[in-house]
């Protein structure tokens, strides 16, 4: 057994190609942050709240929300956890577009205008930026999001060629943040629609060479609330913070349904 992909030993010393500023530079700037608040314990109406904040170089929208919560108004409520775009907690509408607050750098936004932040659309708002995620996860659970196989399990791993592994690579990146589903105009008007995230996760298994339940998932998605509701507006692909080509995945599922012709 020989080692593979051996790279040449790198040089012990090199001339550095470094732009020099990197993480050291700290510029500050002022922003206006506008957040649509909703606190059903005090009022059935939502309203806009705004703060003027001084922020710094690499700060993200999440940092601005934290600054408000920690220094101005502790009642401002939003979900967050990892703060670097992999847990999927903080999808929200920022300047009218679905993004993760922890992945949106303030300096990349137009700071001459207020930055608006609202809860994602199409799911019931519970408080401020928090929505009820249950309907979203319900759709996810319905597409059988797990590997289905039959027969005896092998003693070792199932083999899968690199090519077969590559086919569904893109859709394994999903973090279930709901940015795609809650950016979909069809989902806004029809909450029964499975939505892009559920279809992405179905795709991940339908195109996995090890899986044997592709036909069942295709049948589920051939439903009137399934893939055919997709109007190819590409909102989902633009919204995905993981860069998944969501619309392409949906199209591949549509083609697979046609190819199997139920």
């Amino acid at each position: 057994m020989s080692t593979v992909n051996e790279t040449a030993e790198p040089a012990s010393k090199v001339e550095l190609n470094q732009s020099g500023d990197g993480a050291g530079a700290v510029e500050s700037f002022d922003i206006i942050l506008k957040v649509r608040r909703y606190v059903p314990e005090t009022s059935e109406e939502s309203y806009w709240d705004e703060w003027k904040l001084t922020m710094y170089g690499t700060d993200r929208v999440l940092d601005a929300l934290h600054k408000v919560k920690w220094e101005h108004d502790g009642s401002l409520t939003f979900r967050r956890s990892c703060a670097h775009g992999i847990c999927g907690s903080d999808a929200m509408r920022i300047n009218g577009r679905n993004r993760l607050a922890c992945k949106t750098l303030l300096k990349d936004l137009d700071l001459s205008k207020p930055i608006t932040v609202e809860a994602i659309k199409g799911l019931p708002v519970e408080k401020d930026l928090i929505v009820d995620m249950e309907p979203f996860f319900q759709s996810y659970r319905e597409i059988m999001p797990f590997l289905v196989t039959s027969g005896h399990e092998p003693t070792r791993e199932r083999y899968q060629s690199q090519k077969d592994r590559e086919i569904y690579d893109d859709t394994t990146k999903c973090i279930l943040c709901a940015a795609c589903t809650s950016s979909c105009p069809v989902f806004w008007t029809d909450g029964q629609y499975f939505g892009p995230a559920a279809i992405v996760n179905a795709h991940r298994f339908i195109f996995d060479s090890r899986d044997e339940a592709g036909d069942m998932r295709l049948e589920i998605l051939n439903d009137k609330e399934g893939v055919w509701r997709c109007r190819t507006t590409f909102n989902c692909s633009e919204a995905c913070p993981r860069g998944i080509q969501v619309t392409k995945a949906i199209a591949e599922v549509k083609q697979a349904i046609l190819a199997r012709s139920f």
Partner: protein, 595 residues
Amino acid sequence: MQVHKYDVVIVGAGGAGMRAAIESGQRARTAVLTKIYPTRSHTGAAQGGMCAALANVEEDNWEWHTFDTIKGGDYLVDQDAAEVMAKEAIDAVLDLEKMGLPFNRTPEGKIDQRRFGGHTRDHGKAPVRRACYAADRTGHMILQTLYQNCVKHNVEFYNEFYALDLLLVDEDATREDGSSYTQKRVAGVVSYELATGEIHVFQAKSVVFATGGAGKVFKTTSNAHTLTGDGMAIAYRAGLPLEDMEFVQFHPTGLAGLGILLSEAARGEGGILRNADGERFMERYAPTIKDLAPRDIVARSMAEEVRQGRGCGPNKDYVLLDLTHLEPAHIDAKLPDITEFARTYLGVEPYTEPVPVFPTCHYFMGGIPTTVKGEVLQDNDTIVPGLFAAGEVACVSVHGSNRLGTNSLLDINVFGRRAGIFAAEYAHDAEFVELPENGEARVVEQIESLRSATGTEKVAALRSRLQEVMDADMQVFRTEESIRRALAEIEDLRERYLNISVQDKGKRFNLDLLEGMELGYLLDIAEAMTLAALGRKESRGGHYREDYPDRDDANFMAHTMIYRDETAEMEGVKGIRFETKPVVVTRYQPMERKY
């Protein structure tokens, strides 16, 4: 208040909690309480891989893996536990593959493997390809796969339920030698429902704690905001010991200034560290395996380079991770996420520019002491029947004083599985322990007094002060002076904590209130850490004392056990008792740790 009854209650839905739930859920009536949605758990942030001696790409065996784990942990590892982990690693990886995990593959279609820090061929001769991986999102794929299998097996989740207390009942008991002692038994868990503010008491025959670590005691950390040491602090307050709390791992390659993790896989795939002179400085600190030395050594070497003025950037306060000699296609295939982090957060293009990095608080080697079955210990040898812990919250101890990269994903799978099986088996034969009268009273009192408090101190201000102090004085270099400075500050913050108030007085989704509770946990953990660090007057693994730079096996080859005890006092702090626990040594006698 609501009362629920389950055979097994698992607290936490990261890798360890869900791996336990998959086992327990198929054997006993099981509920999982989790303060965030399962797929938000920080297991998903793990990147590089999960080691197992599959020998898919080169010769390897679990005995070498055991040795590396023990040496990596600077001989504070319980060797029987390390052996269990390295042996069961192989099935743990194969189980995940069978559950559907999309591992990267070799040209023959087997699970591919790559190099990782401290994992070597034949007891340190050269780096070995042992880490099974899915690009640089292995943790993400593990978390997703485990959640998918929980869905498959209809595991019952209570999402956004915070565990706030552990209900233990004391019984008088007699040992075999006739001496009497107090036996603790688990009765259940008190929980707070985020959506409503309602208290729920979960009565259970078995309780599994899988709540993760406490990285948020530091300012610079790879950890999520939610990692506030809840499980450790709750157990500690309930009278259980915490083991080896002085040992915290600083991951060498956090994005400078931000702490966001860049996987060791970057070095496993050929990336190297350079100082301001462009020098590959790890050649001086670890001549054999260089940049792939264990994390404690690399992190200290980086900090040393910066101290000696060879740091980079305008403030000379970081070093560089150089990937520029790697093919962009190779980077895209193996390290797509972390290179995107560098682009997104620092605006650096890793194809052509080295990435600014500095050590970031990453992992707690210590935690709630357990046996290899995941049973929680109430002292050095007595288990608490029905109480289990697994994952970062636990200390088995397989990581000793320094965890090797990838061994945490392994730990959660091996010991999560074990805890799930043994918790269900215990519940099968056991009776419910009667809930203590008004068992929820302590939590209700805490919550209501915090909600109605009118004090002048702010949670966020105290927390950020704590984090600054810990970064300054409890990081990779420690001295008696720095630790005492941190301890004094922590004691001051604990006083000020009594005078906090929160602004949100509501019941619905009151995260303001819960941040107040979490700060209480952080302060308890920080105090335990500093006291344990004061007690260990030697340098070992992640705990480096400049005033005691050598390992001292004669005096300190033992685990630290810290207890809350009203009758005791340690280093001027009332209510803390300090003890030690022997290290289990099977076949590897301590040697000098060189790489």
